[in-house]
């Protein structure tokens, strides 16, 4: 009987139960719904002013440090730029093992040789490498258990995403929409590394939606999937945001809506089949990827309970969708938007003319990075608020004719600043059932870091100038700050060790942890 119980336990999906343990951090978004909410309240609004560094670990690896660390078994698992990864002793920060694989020279990366973190199932850690490969590492040693090619780097594919574990599958997205790739979401068998399914984010011949791509433009249609999706075990669906169509700023060569780019897609976890999609920006020409965290929230909208997926989109609108059907529930601009006069009842943006890129540059708002971009968001069930960062301002968008060459930059032009209107930043505390902004923390420059919400009534974030800080989750008022000495690009996490709560964040080339002073 006892043996049978153990076998049954082993057969259960490991994550949904374990991810509720507030002392650990087992998946990119803390839970598979993507909340980034810690239930530990030891560090709170009353005492956060005393928060101080506990230990730091310097990687010595130059590049943007974007990782969400995982924490379990008294260890912290950190991925760095340039295909580096580390296991650190949670008590001291001492390195337990180091993984490194040099990146082939011909790898194309648009925006830094970055990585956003591990996923875990049992004692297997999963990470992507830049050269479009997925590896499984032994959590005890860092040794490679298996390694799989995701796709061919010569076609412009690269990989930066933190994988998502659902059941026995490792689900990943791909990067490369600036190099004319055709995007996808893949699922791999966690035991063997064999691919189980692939969902193409660009509809090809025979696929529903293939008529939204003129000619053979679908072949280089972009739609990369570089931010981790979320997972609803009850609906058996995984939700992924898709990136811009390619080439970014020249839509002439790809007439049509360009499905399923700049959209949120709901995929059957077992088969990868599309259950529904909602396209935020049809025929995007501003590089407004819809890759921001698709966060699963149960909301009450106009008196009705609804299972929703929400997203603060790069195009300047906040969206809430019915996560069973994809039906639009809420769409509201959270920042200055010049390209659309709201979202119509049919779910399509009400376009304002004269907003497309031109040869000589045309102003549009928000700028190329949004609005809110990829930086991790947070939701607090305590305040009921959804927290995310935003770049505030507009840009000039240029269009250029460009011939496609495999594996080469294929952006169809560029953007530039408006000299008299420098962009700034903000962190929003927003009511997700209405899209109303409750508070806004204004920042002098565009934001860089992700966010963490805690039961201590706090929202943690960082900035371009090196500050790591805590805001009051109810008001946005700053309560604590620490100058880390390096740009904070990663999202913070929180965990508990031996009865003490810690907050950890990567800054510059350093992994830092913070705790309250030990009581004498």
């Amino acid at each position: 009987m006892r043996l049978r119980t153990i076998l049954l336990l082993a057969a259960l999906p490991a994550l949904p139960a374990a991810e509720n343990d507030p002392t650990t951090w087992l998946t990119y978004g803390k839970n598979s719904r993507g909340w980034r909410y810690s239930e530990i309240r030891q560090i709170n609004t009353a005492n956060v002013a005393q928060l101080a560094p506990a230990w730091s670990f310097q990687t010595g690896v130059f590049g943007k440090f974007e990782t969400t660390p995982l924490v379990f078994d008294r260890m912290m698992f950190v991925t760095g730029p340039e295909n580096h990864a580390y296991a650190l002793d949670l008590a001291t920060g001492r390195q337990m093992w180091h993984y490194f694989k040099p990146m082939p020279r011909e790898t194309s990366v648009c925006c830094g040789r970055v990585n956003r973190g591990f996923a875990v199932l049992g004692q297997k850690l999963f990470k992507v490498n830049l050269e479009s490969r997925l590896v499984a590492l032994d959590a005890k040693t860092g040794n490679v258990i298996w390694e799989t090619e995701i796709d061919d780097i010569k076609k412009g594919y690269s990989a930066t995403v933190a994988p998502l574990v659902a059941k026995n599958l490792v689900i990943i997205g791909i990067a490369g929409a600036e190099f004319g790739v055709r995007g996808f979401v893949d699922a791999y068998d966690a035991d063997t590394g064999k691919r189980v399914w692939r969902f193409w984010t660009v509809a090809g011949p025979g696929d529903p939606g293939s008529n939204t791509w003129g000619g053979d433009s679908w072949k280089r249609g972009g739609g990369s999937t570089w931010i981790t999706g979320t997972y609803d075990p009850e609906l058996n669906l995984t939700y992924w945001g898709t990136g811009n169509p390619g080439p970014d700023m020249n839509g002439d060569v790809r007439p049509g809506d360009n499905l399923y780019t700049c959209a949120v897609v709901a995929l059957d976890v077992d088969t990868g089949q599309r259950k529904w999609h909602y396209q935020m920006t049809p025929h995007d020409v501003h590089d407004w990827d819809a890759i921001a965290d698709p966060v699963l929230l149960d909301l009450v909208i106009k008196g009705e309970k609804v299972k929703a997926v929400v997203q603060a989109n790069r195009n300047g609108f906040f969206y809430a969708l019915d996560r069973a059907t994809g039906k639009l529930l809420v769409a509201k601009a959270y920042t200055k938007v010049s390209w659309a006069d709201g979202i119509g009842l049919d779910g399509r943006p009400i376009l304002i003319s004269g907003q497309d890129p031109t040869e000589d540059g045309n102003k549009s708002c928000p700028g190329i990075g949004g609005g809110h971009n990829w930086q991790a968001t947070a939701f607090s069930p305590q305040t009921g608020l959804y927290y995310f960062t935003s770049t505030e301002g507009c840009q000039l968008y240029y269009k250029t004719d460009q011939e496609f060459r495999e594996g080469q930059w294929y952006q169809g032009s560029t953007t530039g600043p408006i000299p008299t209107e420098p962009t700034t930043g903000a962190i929003f505390g927003l009511h997700p059932a209405t899209g109303e902004t409750r508070w806004k923390f204004e920042m002098v420059t565009p934001p860089t870091s992700g966010l963490l919400a805690t039961a201590g009534g706090l929202v943690f974030g960082g900035d371009r100038e090196g500050y790591f800080f805590a805001l009051d989750a109810r008001t946005g008022k700053p309560l604590w700050k620490f100058q880390t000495g390096g740009m904070v690009i990663a999202p913070p996490i929180s965990y508990m060790l031996d009865g003490r709560q810690y907050v950890a964040v990567a800054a510059g080339q350093t992994m830092m942890t913070f705790a309250l002073p030990k009581q004498p």
């Binding site: 952006q411 560029t414 800080f469």
Partner: protein, 259 residues
């Protein structure tokens, strides 16, 4: 006549010294067009969307401070230019794209239509005398510290850019040289040029070259303005000929004083 001969020798010497790798696309008429989107994406933020210069030098003049050969252009794009804001692009673009960009830069070069007509000597006198520019700008070892150093400005900015900076001081601000103003809780107003500025603090230097550091939480107000602290007065102070002289002087500042 003798002078021309000497120049000819120098040019030949330079070409000899710079004979390096050849542009594999030198005879490919499509290479320039292929380089254009790459240029617009990576180079236009500093060199202008039409390569006419801005924060970086005007590339349409057909003369480059790094040398005139394809190999020298390749070298500076691949590895950057030491002592300037020009970074390396080899890691992002690779050989072939850089050669295509060399072809593009060649294709936009045209005879210089904005000759520098002023007199350097007169410009130098105006700079240190009537204009009092040296109060805020260092040239070599001489001058003040409020504004950007101008020792090598003729290498890094086009003449048109220098002229614009003189007559329209806010046309393009040098990053970091913004105006910071703090009002203390006892009502004292302090302002100066930014050294650092963030969400929680400000560090700046005032006109007496004194440094200040304030926490936002400890002052009545703190603001940064994206405007130049340089007086917007030179259009009135100088006539056209004097402005030409000043531009000629600055365009001739190539960094010799420190070498």
């Amino acid at each position: 006549m003798r002078r021309v001969w000497a120049l000819g020798l120098t040019a030949a010497g330079m070409l000899g010294a710079q004979s390096g790798p050849k542009n594999p696309f030198a005879n490919d008429p499509t290479a320039a067009e292929a380089g254009r989107p790459v240029f617009r994406l990576f180079c236009s933020p500093c060199h202008g969307i039409r390569a006419g210069g801005g924060r970086g030098p005007d590339l349409t003049r057909g003369v480059y401070s790094v040398g005139e050969s394809d190999a020298s252009l390749f070298e500076v794009i691949a590895n950057g230019a030491t002592g300037t804001e020009m970074p390396e692009y080899m890691s992002r673009l690779g050989d072939e794209n850089i050669w295509r960009m060399v072809s593009y830069i060649r294709s936009v070069a045209r005879p210089d239509t904005t000759p520098i007509t002023g007199d350097r000597g007169s410009g130098e006198k105006l700079f240190w005398g009537k204009g009092n520019c040296g109060q805020c700008h260092v040239v070599g070892t001489r001058g003040g510290r409020m504004g950007p150093e101008l020792t090598r400005i003729g290498r890094t900015r086009s003449a048109a850019y220098l002229r614009e900076s003189l007559v329209d001081v806010n046309a393009d601000l040098t990053p970091g040289f913004f105006a910071v103003t703090v009002v203390t809780r006892d009502g004292k107003k302090l302002s100066g040029v930014q050294r650092a500025y963030d969400n929680f603090s400000a560090q700046f230097m005032d006109v007496n070259e004194k440094f200040y550091s304030f926490q936002k939480s400890e002052v009545a107000s703190m603001k940064r303005e994206f405007r130049s602290l340089m007086p917007d007065a030179y259009r009135q102070l100088f006539n056209d000929a004097e402005i030409n002289d000043l531009v000629a002087y600055m365009a001739g500042l190539r960094g010799e004083d420190k070498r």
